[in-house]
Symmetry: C2
Subunit: 287 residues, 2 copies
């Protein structure tokens, strides 16, 4: 029998999941608050519109690709209707949505929190594509209540999307993305914010280095406020450490400039540690 | 008559200048502490080896493409030998080398400080090429003592290299490069330094955003220590401002995380300012 999957939310991620699964032979049903978004995704071959009312039989999995703040409520509604045997989400932060689902009274035995690292910098359903997750990590964060059967179903879905399932507890996941994604975004923003005060001729001297450091600062502020708020503690820890390194470097530079001497140490130190840290960043995937 | 130019220092910048000028029909003589480096550059068609002793007649210009710390002394030696009618350097910081030249007793009437923004991230003479400066800004910082004739000669040299001469006083130049180049390097290093402490699995979740933010942190620490030390005050000012923004954002995130409320303001603020600052970064030159 064909795998049956329901996708809630036909934005970039939801539509890409639906395209990947439809392409692998699954039967996919789509739901979104915006009926036009469902028609658009269906028109691209992502699946068919989810019928109203109670289902004949539950789907294998429901994927909750809705905004993080709407996840717990959507999960509760789907579980009340008995729509699927297992549930997963795609929020880029894991601790808070799982806690919200627990607080709302969702059944966590059939839920496996997920986070596909799509590696894309695009957004919106028009950018959706079946190979968005191919070869990329897709973190799964089962909790102590999660059934093994649910984990198995969600792993199979991740593999069907061409991604690499990576099991991790929610807290460790949130610290990891604070370090490699959320804090770098704020650091890029704080550097780019300085450019508001720069003279036009100064900006004219910019090269590829500045373009690279500030590229992700061009992201959507409202979306990033939501992400950062949901992962506030771990992000704040990294930002405080970066701020302390920058303040120490500034202090050492001022004493160097004043010829006080013996203060090159902290400057050299951050440059050497930065170069070594940079060496740990994985190379881009071959395409 | 052919323009005659002497290039001191046959590294990436010196050899590229020599290749560009030789290509434009000038007669170029090369000098370097390392005779092997001169032979290498000459072998690439950059020019011929500068003869010892007093010249028959002075060259039009001598370009000092030596390390910044050696600039003033090289200038003094060349002026004592009467090697050229005008002199220029290529140091990426301008205030300090000019002050050192003045302190050493160099003749500043024939000297115009220069800084070609080559836009390249490569280094070493093997990467030298005649079109390294094409279409890029090349800052010139004449002082109050500088002769108009010297300025004219150096501007003509910059144009012969295909670059765009951009006159600016030395202090304004140093503030500009602190903002668009030197501080971004330290910010990238401080973010990359955090990755030394990350778990291997965390680094595995990194994407293109982290790669971009940390790319320039991979530069040579000793070279960057020299650059930052020579422009200590202006760089420290920018770093302090970035550190303050990061610390404020961390504080606001912690109170958000604690549900204290009404603290999203500073987080949203840095994201919005960062996005607007990013919009001021010029697009890459079309090639």
């Amino acid at each position: 029998v064909k795998r049956r999957v329901i996708v809630f939310g036909t934005g970039l991620i939801g539509t890409s999941v639906a395209l990947a699964l439809s392409g692998s032979g699954a039967e996919v049903e789509l739901s979104d608050r915006d009926p036009q978004a469902v028609r658009l995704a269906a028109g691209r071959g992502a699946g068919t519109s989810l019928a109203e009312g109670p289902p004949d039989r539950p789907a294998d999995i429901a994927v909750l690709a809705v905004p993080p703040a709407a996840m717990a409520e959507t999960l509760l509604g789907a579980q009340k209707r008995g729509l699927a045997l297992a549930y997963t989400d795609v929020s880029s932060v894991k601790g808070r949505p799982i806690a919200e689902a627990a607080a709302l009274g969702c059944d966590l035995s059939t839920f496996v929190g997920g986070h596909p690292l799509s590696g894309g910098e695009r957004s919106g359903p028009a950018a959706a594509r079946a190979d968005l997750f191919r070869g990329r990590p897709w973190v799964l964060c089962p909790g102590p209540e999660t059934d093994q059967a649910a984990i198995g179903r969600v792993r199979a879905l991740v593999r069907a999307c061409g991604a690499l399932p990576c099991l991790m507890d929610a807290e460790r996941h949130d610290h990891a993305v604070a370090l490699v994604s959320h804090a770098p975004h704020v650091v890029s923003s704080a550097m780019a914010a300085r450019l508001l005060h720069g003279e036009h001729t100064a900006l004219g001297l910019a090269g590829q280095g500045l373009r690279d450091v500030t590229r992700i600062a061009g992201g959507n502020p409202a979306l990033w406020l939501e992400i950062l708020s949901a992962n506030a503690g771990p992000v704040a820890d990294v930002l405080d450490e970066v701020a302390a390194d920058l303040a120490d470097t500034a202090r050492a530079l001022r004493s160097l400039g004043a010829g006080v001497g013996e203060s090159a140490g902290p400057v050299m130190d951050v440059l050497v540690r930065g170069s070594a840290g940079r060496d740990r960043v994985p190379a881009p995937p071959k395409t």
